[in-house]
């Protein structure tokens, strides 16, 4: 009974509760549909109208959206992993092994988190290459490219801080080597190293600091910059669509005609 289902949906949409949440009202007019986007806190980041060729697969290969998808998977699986993981020296490695062998679906969630992390780094680079080779970073989108660079750094820092948390040999030495790189900063290098690790060597303080960075500070920074990144797409004139510049075309024509005239 498709007609009856539609009637029920219309009744719900016309109800006082629904209208109190979604104020754009019922109706399928262009105005109603535009208001539905514009008045939603999440959707208002995006444009109310887009050109069909902007959202074609060939325009972006959906690489930015896919990157955001892996980020969502990482947030969800990460929160679930936090329920079994203690960021302390005696327990961290054992908790990681418990997640693999004892906790139901723990192996699945941990591997999903790990593979999504690898995939996210790959997708971030693929997204950047696509943007770069299409020239989508140029004016007026140059500031969104800079925000993208910040998001690249946050992605890499998330990978790096997450690498210590299993607290195995690989993690320990990778962070020992990686944190020693910060000592190479002129004048304040050893201070940065000390603050990053909360001590002179990779130890309990370093594990806790990396855990807080990985689970709180860096994800919050990522969410903030992702929101700005999405909002700037609308503000900078929507997704980039390759088009022939009339000026370039005109100058090419004039050069040709000038040559013919000789």
């Amino acid at each position: 009974m498709p007609v009856k289902t539609e009637q029920i949906i219309e009744q719900v949409r016309a109800s006082r509760v629904w209208r109190s949440i979604f104020r754009s009202g019922t109706g399928n007019s262009t105005l109603h549909r535009a208001l539905a986007i514009q008045q939603n806190i999440f959707l208002h980041l995006f444009a109310t109208k887009v050109r069909r060729r902007m959202v074609r697969f060939s325009a972006t290969w959906y690489l930015g959206t896919l990157t955001f998808g892996t980020f969502l998977i990482l947030v969800i699986t990460g929160i679930l992993l936090m329920l079994y993981y203690h960021p302390s020296v005696p327990q961290a490695y054992a908790d990681m092994k418990d997640l693999q062998f004892v906790v139901s679906s723990g192996l699945f969630l941990r591997n999903l988190h790990r593979w999504s992390a690898q995939l996210m780094v790959f997708l971030v680079f693929a997204h950047m290459f696509k943007v770069f080779y299409r020239g989508a970073y140029r004016t007026p989108r140059e500031f969104n490219w800079v925000i993208g660079i910040v998001l690249l750094l946050i992605t890499l820092l998330l990978s790096y801080t997450g690498y210590l948390l299993p607290w195995d040999q690989l993690a320990y030495w990778a962070i020992t080597v990686g944190s020693n790189l910060s000592s190479a900063v002129p004048l304040v290098g050893s201070k940065i190293h000390f603050l990053l690790l909360g001590g002179n060597q990779v130890n309990a303080n370093a594990l806790l600091r990396f855990y807080v960075l990985h689970c709180v500070i860096l994800p919050l920074a990522a969410i903030l910059f992702i929101a700005v990144h999405f909002w700037r797409i609308r503000k900078d004139g929507g997704l980039y669509v390759q088009q022939v510049d009339p000026k370039v075309q005109a100058s090419a024509v004039s050069v040709l005609s000038a040559k013919e005239g000789q």
Binding site: V177, L181, L195, Q201
Partner: protein, 163 residues
Amino acid sequence: MPDATLKVSQSFPAEFDRRAFFTKIGLGSLGIAAAGTIAFSYEYLSPNVLYEPSAIINAGKPENFAVNSVTMDVNAGIYLVRTEEGYFALNAVCTHLGCLTAWNQDLGIIACPCHGSKFTRTGEKIEGPAPKPLPWLKTWVSDEGDLMVDRSADIPPLQYLRI
């Protein structure tokens, strides 16, 4: 200079009225508060007490080390070497990026597994990305006759401890 005071009294009220004064006071106190926040944050983030192993290591009786032997203390990250010239201790942490090096008895060299730096028994660099030789550490004999090493105190090389 009566002329100068006249100039100041004329230009003073126009450029520096009450509103500008309070704006400066406000911005100044915000600046002081920001600087204080940075200082407090830095102090808070650098721990005052560290629960790290002691820098001073008791290596046991000197007689336990044979002549021309290199003994590694993995937990402390040091080598204890006894040669015909005497005893010395080397920091086993690679000067490149902080990996723990290892003594290779067959080749008679110290090698780093991370990036391939190689050192002689006395800490001199043979090859690899390491920028500096392995530092010599302060050694002495305690009142009980034990060989002691201070990991935090580097000394110039070739200062052998003779017992």
